[in-house]
Symmetry: C3
């Protein structure tokens, strides 16, 4: 599969990469994530250049990973720093990848390393700034192509059918989304609903007796699959000012053509010190995404099989406007990148 | 794999398709079987035209299936009857297949729908007519190509080796089968055995002291893989008139190139109200087919692998006459159908 | 995958082939090993020529295997000796393979049968001669190409990293191996270490207080993957004469391109009647090979995937000299054999 290369992919939550490191396949490549002596993340191809043993089966100490098969040791640049069997040479290097830790996550650049600029990582500072009592997160290894997982967030009308007992109430379906394609590469999809029945989870937070709400759900996508989702609601007809917002991220990174690392997190601008609420939010989200979204998307993938998505001629609905805009944007970016590389190598 | 298309395949036992419907892959196609408001069976491609979610993950009510992902609803013709996101258009249709309920079973036509005539369904009225106390059935998902499962019924000499403790006693091996290729498309294979040792299960029903029997086993195959099997036995030299017959069906429908829906049922023309006998027959047949036949055929398939059966040059024996006649008939039917389609599309 | 054909592969330990025979895939071919009426081993393609059922699902009696599906019976030459359904003809034969029992093992020849000479089987008489109290053996079905398993024995420096608590102490790493390519086809790799720290298992057998040892480890490979390994140690500076030797074999036979039958055994020239020691050796070796070597090699294979080993450009170290010599030798033998066959069939 052809992936966008010159961009930052989320590789892991920062706390997933501890002393022992983390082996994870990203864009079909086995990668070993670990930390140097200063705690900075590093990423190497998880394959010793000598006999191709996974470096992740070895040990990390002082920012150096030692292969468990023959004792070659590498630092975070991929350079061999110890060879028990002869001289340390440059030929013993293993590929490394630019990585950066931002916003409680570790990001990896799997394209041209000279272009890797951590300042291009999407600004998700609200995650880093959130107190621990107002930050929760999760991870699901999903059985479908990452674009299907992206579609799922860009077309939230699905909540009305897939999550009717929690997130869906029909108001998204009854609201036509506005789609903005911004110059900074962000595509923004906005559902603003007025005087409608709120979803069960929203209704439970409304004052007693309130049956209708004004609500908003705004998603901002940027390449390759990083989405910020803000939503909130007030009793119908009351001012939005001062209403609490739920502020979420959904980030999709391909593991392979048919599997996706689905990272999600949630913070908010109210009840920041309510640890109990925080834990309840974490639990319900993990449950919904793993038992309702993931199985549906895995089933979609099974039906699609090896076919190209567009070759199957999906029937397009109004609700797909945002998702289709994003797919086209991503296709354009990938095509441009491929064309550039072909021009360089011609 | 190239299947015969313009014919009726058994898709399910009628009682397998209840309120929730039934998802089943037939001839490599995922199919959703359900019932309309009148209880008539319907069959749709189990893939929503919008985003390819399986319709079988949705809900059926009043003969309409609603997709669980975005709420599109379809009737049994495949037409969209409800779109919460915009107009109902013809582009939203999903493929449907002619189906019919006959003889306690549901049959599907996966070829040219204009040719689908339920009167061409093989007459198995004896199944429908049997009282519940003289009808039993079963189903096994078999790990081999459907033609291997068909072969297994057309060459019953295998019972002498694979089922020596129940169905086999050697008399089939010692009897040369007569094979009739009839004009109505049926190929009939007849084993008539005289004054021979009966199989254990037959012997147990003979009068005490009787050690030899006259017996008959007649199989009638029609395309694609529908077989009626009648057998009975009397003490050697006594009249056949009035002897009880066991009347069975074995029906094979491809799930995929290497897996088969094996449907079987049994009725009889004696002891029609003996529910206990009926249950005993059901149990022994299910056990034999699932623990002796299916593993052997799955092992055959594993040895054949991806090779064409004839390319492996099977050694032909006298006992294969019926099975080979059927394979050749089926190959001829498939080749004719392919030629006709190529002529039409040329 | 192209295998060397005209050579003896170890198929099984002799005691693995009992009355019921043994089904085992060798070089991608399903083989049925059993014994004739005199107890001599026989090998047939494990696929009945009639309908391709595995013969191993049948029964062996008096050196004849009877197919469980239709009762055809074959002797060890592959000739049909009983056909319940008609004449016994030569067309009913199934392929057979030369086999021989030597050195407690059964060997199979999967090349030109006319060249099969059991005297070419590697002389491992020390296994046969060992008393039962000084002979132990094991078997692991390994998840990697057989050449990776061969490499593992030819480069024993891995013991210092993969088995630091038992077999490794660093002395192999600190010793440059001598490699001899002998005219008889054997490639011999010798590690002779002086005044060095012995591995934990060796140290435990040294006199109390002895911290340094002189040790030797000699491996002799012959095609396709038969290796004899002799090692021993004495307190540093003391005479080697009279010191005990551990005498081992490691034999690799391909099951498929990515799986290997790994046979290993151990005898010795001391403490020949110590059954308890023998069992302790058996246990520790089986544990190390199955829980440390096999998982590492399976992980290597996963990283290599479908790629050719050399195409991945492995970084060569001093320690690889013996393993590389063996890989080149084997490649040369296979290429010569292929060239000869192409010349014959041109």
């Amino acid at each position: 599969m052809t992936y966008l290369r010159n961009c930052w992919y989320m590789a892991a939550w920062a706390d997933e990469v501890g002393e022992a490191g983390l082996a994870r396949t990203l864009l079909d490549q086995p990668i070993f994530l670990f930390r140097d002596a200063d705690g900075a993340p590093q990423a190497l191809l998880d394959r010793c250049p000598h006999r191709f043993a996974p470096l992740s089966m070895g040990e990390v100490a002082g920012g150096v990973v030692t292969c468990r098969y023959h004792g070659l040791a590498f630092d975070g640049t991929g350079a061999c720093v110890h060879n028990p069997h002869g001289p340390v040479t440059r030929a013993l290097a293993t590929p490394s990848y630019p990585v950066a830790e931002r916003h409680r996550a570790i990001w990896i650049w799997m394209g041209d390393p000279e272009r890797a600029d951590p300042d291009q990582i999407r600004d998700l500072g609200f995650l880093a700034d959130a107190p621990d009592t107002a930050f929760n997160k999760g991870y699901v290894l999903g059985g479908g192509n990452y674009q299907l997982f992206v579609d799922n967030i860009l077309d939230l009308s699905h909540t009305d059918y897939l999550h009717p007992d929690t997130l869906g109430g029909g108001s998204i379906t009854r609201t036509r989304a506005k789609v903005e394609q911004r110059d900074d590469g962000i595509i923004k999809i906005m559902w603003d609903s007025y005087d409608d029945v709120p979803p069960p989870l929203v209704r439970s937070k409304m004052p007693e007796g309130v049956e209708r709400a004004d609500s908003w759900t705004h998603v901002e996508w940027s390449a390759p699959g990083v989405m910020k989702l803000v939503n909130g609601a007030v009793p119908a007809g009351t001012p939005r000012e001062g209403a609490g917002n739920s502020i979420n991220v959904h980030i999709m990174t391909p593991e392979s053509e048919r599997t996706t690392h689905y990272f999600f997190a949630s913070t908010r601008d109210y009840a920041l010190d309510d640890a109990e609420l925080n834990e309840a939010i974490r639990r319900i989200r993990a449950q919904i995404f793993s038992t309702e979204d993931e199985p549906m998307i895995a089933a979609q993938q099974e039906r699609i099989g090896a076919a190209d998505f567009w070759d199957l001629k999906p029937a397009l609905l109004r609700i797909d406007e945002g998702a289709v805009a994003v797919r086209r944007r991503l296709d354009t970016l990938i095509a441009a990148e491929q064309a550039e590389w072909q021009a360089e190598t011609a």
